[in-house]
């Protein structure tokens, strides 16, 4: 599996570490309450199909990358830098 890094181009997935669903970028406010934080930390849509998740290019440019890919096929559709925010 090759991950397209927006800065470095397509690289072997071994250069990256995986964090989880890109919803982690939408951090609740500190005072959002227990239910919002529980949902953020633990619950996932976990789609069987197209998803967005966060990969860190550890052995490359160290950028956080949001990768749009299909969990049912391992096909990779697109990627962007996480610092650019939501699509």
């Amino acid at each position: 599996m090759k991950i397209p890094c927006p800065l470095c181009g397509a690289r072997d997935s071994r250069e990256f570490s995986y964090l989880g669903h890109a919803g982690l970028l939408d951090r609740p406010a500190p005072d959002a309450g227990d239910a919002a934080w529980d949902d953020y930390l633990h619950n996932r849509d976990n789609p069987a199909g197209v998803t967005e998740d966060l990969w860190s290019h550890d052995y490359g440019c160290a950028a956080w990358v949001v990768v749009t890919r299909n969990t049912a096929t391992h096909g990779i559709l697109s990627s962007r830098l996480a610092k650019d925010g939501a699509a």
Binding site: S13, L19, R44, N46, P47, D53, H74
Partner: protein, 418 residues
């Protein structure tokens, strides 16, 4: 039709013409007391124990594929009870005891083989961790024995003990651990449930869960609607999709775990052997002769039921480091399973926010060994609306409250750390 040595002999002498199908193929009825969504090992065990222990026989098991075609037929068949955390510890101990009586109970040969598991360690720290775990296992009433390198060399002569990178410091032997024939477990439980009146309905996919005023009414399926007083979800690997039909979001992320098997060989590996090094590797030999082995998750969300090459390479490197002889064997096939990874690495058996709807899932990469106890505890919860003592820790609200989290690896309740 009961199995016995006499019967096998008689059939052998009469051309094996008297065997009949192990379970019926009924059409779904309009209504059941309990509908179980998912005809895997856990779903079949749930139906079996509902009928056997609680006398509830008006039960349907709905399976979208065929019996034995899901994770129950795709795992590496290891049965062990070396868990440490309160909640897990008593549950897996309960499960091992049920395994030990399962074949007599089912009148079915599931080829449960208590050949022993040896967990190797490669550093002083790993030895301490192994001894801590072993003491927890002894405290739960089961057994564990520390093996020195000298003892190991007699038991496992084929390991590379003199390697410089991961020298073997010793091992922990769990004598009652072992393997079972995974398909036979599914078939035996299906037969046992069917004989007690449970309808096992294959090729029947659930497409919706009907509720009214917060109470479950039944399910919609590819073979028409079915009313039910109680509906039990137990669909490892597809929990998110089925739970979403009831408006639930779960603390579960689905990952891929690969497994590998070699060509059939003469008996050479007598135990289940696992190896910690900088990752994970485990191996056993099936009764057909294939070496069955695997390692860690690939490490990203996936429903593809196949993995990628980096983990395949890592697992084969670990195999070669541990037992160089394996390099002479040809790999026959590899495959991937869909693992319900919960955020603390432990399962869920609980009621839901909908009356009469129950959830069982999140078995991570350890569901096979749990089959009897999972069915036993889930049946208890469904029948009596209160948890079985051995499964009472598997609450759905532990993630929100933080009480009773069971992170066996001590990494906390975080999705990408298990």
């Amino acid at each position: 039709m009961a199995f016995s040595a006499l019967r096998v002999l008689k059939e052998g002498l009469t051309g094996n013409s008297g065997w009949t199908p192990h379970w019926r193929d009924p059409a779904p009825k309009d209504e059941y007391d309990v509908v179980i969504i998912g005809g895997g090992g856990h779903g079949l065990a749930t139906a079996y124990y509902l009928a056997k222990d609680h006398g509830i026989t008006n039960v349907a098991v709905l399976e979208k594929g065929w019996i034995g075609g899901g994770n129950v037929g795709r795992n590496t068949t290891i049965v062990r009870a070396n868990y440490m955390m309160p909640g897990n510890s008593e549950f897996y101990s309960h499960s091992l005891k049920l395994w030990e009586g399962l074949e007599q109970d089912l009148n079915y040969n599931v080829m449960h083989s208590q050949r022993g598991q040896i967990t190797l360690f490669n550093s002083d720290g790993a030895r301490d961790a192994a001894m801590r775990r072993a003491n927890a296992v002894i405290n739960q009433g089961d057994d564990a024995e520390l093996l020195s390198v000298g003892q190991l060399k007699k038991t496992l002569p084929y390991l590379d003990y003199d390697q410089t990178r991961f020298p073997i410091y010793g091992g922990m032997l769990y004598r009652r651990a072992g393997t079972a024939r995974h398909d036979a477990v599914a078939w035996g439980l299906a037969r046992g449930a069917d004989r007690r009146g449970v309808d096992i309905i294959q090729n029947c996919e659930v497409t919706g869960i009907d509720t009214q005023g917060g109470v479950v009414q039944g399910v919609q399926t590819s073979r028409g609607p079915i009313r039910a007083k109680k509906v039990a979800i137990v669909v490892a690997g597809r929990s998110a999709q089925v739970a979403a039909m009831a408006g639930m979001r779960l603390p579960i992320e689905s990952h891929v775990l690969q497994a590998f098997v070699t060509e059939g060989l003469k008996p050479c590996i007598d135990h289940v052997v696992s190896y910690g090094m900088l990752g994970h590797f485990y191996i056993s030999q099936s009764d057909k002769g294939g070496l069955v082995f695997g390692g860690n998750l690939d490490g990203y969300a996936s429903y593809a039921a196949r993995g990628n090459l980096p983990m395949a390479e890592h697992v084969c490197e670990a195999a070669m480091t541990l037992m160089p002889m394996i390099g002479r064997a040809k790999m026959l096939r590899s495959w991937g399973g869909i693992m319900d990874m919960s955020s603390d690495g432990s399962p869920i058996i609980d009621k839901t926010h909908i009356d009469g709807l129950y959830f069982n899932g999140g078995w991570c990469y350890g569901g096979f060994k749990a089959i009897p106890a999972s069915g036993n505890c889930y049946a208890h919860l469904i029948a009596q609306d209160r948890p079985h003592p051995a499964g009472a820790g598997f609450r759905l609200d532990r993630f929100a409250t933080g009480r009773g989290l069971m992170d066996e690896e001590g990494t906390g309740s975080q999705h990408n750390l298990h």
